[in-house]
Point group: C2
Chain length 210, copies 2
DNA sequence: TAATTTATGTCACCGCATGACAGATGACAA
DNA sequence: TTGTCATCTGTCATGCGGTGACATAAATTA
């Protein structure tokens, strides 16, 4: 890897660190791009060459974790039911996060804390989630053998997204807490849902695109 | 009602109409506050005296409908289970919308269409939803006899929120379609969930606040 | 009509975000 | 090492969103 590339990731990480630091101490809105740039000794214009917006830098780590989740999901064997694959991917994501070096894990937790206490960022995170939702629905539909326009894959994804939010948003206290919370939620789900609920049952189609 | 008040609601509605019109024809981001204000013959500064942001005017109608839902929910008898009360409130909300005068219903549908095709607004709508979520969880906890910090009321609300999103977001084509979609989703839910799933079962507590 | 309240317009200002251009710096071949 | 090229960066200018301050116009009340 050349010097140029190394410098780039270095600047990028520095910007993230500076941003998180300032956001957490002064508050998200109270922090300006100029302050972040100044702390990294970079022009404000350069900030926007690394991140498309103020929100972007705050959500870059959560966005990464979502990408990890999606990658895990895509890698699950077809033998698993949609819901089983989704649950396993969630567990795998937490595991992956835990295996990273401590520095990066700390960054992630900082970001999680920040998002948790900033409504605007919570909304942004939801937006990320929704952008991925289509991909998720498509994959679930494939596993079910139904159409992505069908109500059933959307149903499964919606249910799971709700569960994911509970444990994801409840875990700025550490990845262990988050993992435990996930277990609790999945236990609750097992108790509430009928076996095979996520498989393509008889009718209930009523396609109709959104 | 005095002239002053009448003028205010008039201006407000004019701003909403102008905004929706421009948003739908030019696109949300491509439309400026100045354009909206100009169309109503009002200074841009005045726009912000009626709406706190560009997003606010676009989401004012969806926000209203959420308020209606919450009001309906608060009015449901305690004899209903949490999930039953939530479902009934959703139906009632659609009914209330349908009973309004056609002009206002048209505005609502316009807003729904707009939100549907604008990711930023979709996210904003989710933010509104999440702001109300606490209230919802508290009410469900009361009905269950559990603590709002408990996982179970959160679980019920999350599940229902997912279902609500499916039918809500699928209905820019009219309130009738939206009602039918709701029926389909609830049917699917009845088939997937065990009877009494939304009641406070044995343990599964593991409180832990977010 | 006079006094008070309140809505509106004007002006100034800040922060976010983007395009354009010039200069600095690393990459690479001779 | 040197020269060329690609790319990163800083500076400048601009537009839009959003807010505070103040004066003016309009409605309310007496």
């Amino acid at each position: 890897m050349g010097l140029r590339e190394r410098k780039k990731v270095q600047t990028r990480n520095a910007l993230i660190d500076a941003a998180l630091e300032l956001f957490l101490t002064q508050g998200y809105e109270a922090t300006t791009i100029d302050q972040i740039a100044a702390r990294v000794d970079v022009s404000p214009r350069t900030f926007f060459r690394y991140f498309s917006s103020k929100e972007d830098v705050a959500l870059s780590l959560p966005a990464d974790s979502q990408e990890i989740f999606l990658a895990e999901f895509a890698a699950r064997p077809d033998s698993e039911s949609p819901y089983a694959a989704l649950s396993a991917s969630m567990r795998a994501m937490i595991g992956t996060l835990r295996d990273k070096d401590p520095e990066e894990a700390a960054r992630f937790l900082k970001a999680r804390r920040l998002v948790d206490e900033t409504p605007a960022l919570l909304a942004g995170q939801m937006r990320l989630l929704m952008e991925n939702e289509k991909r998720l629905v498509a994959e679930v539909a494939r596993r079910q053998g139904t159409s992505p326009d069908d109500l059933r894959p959307q149903f499964v994804v919606s249910i799971f997204t709700g569960l994911g939010m509970i444990c994801y948003n409840a875990g700025p206290e550490g990845l262990d807490i988050m993992a435990r919370r996930l277990d609790d939620v999945l236990t609750l789900a097992d108790r509430s849902l009928r076996p095979g609920w996520d498989l393509a049952a008889a009718d209930a189609s009523s396609s109709a695109a959104g």
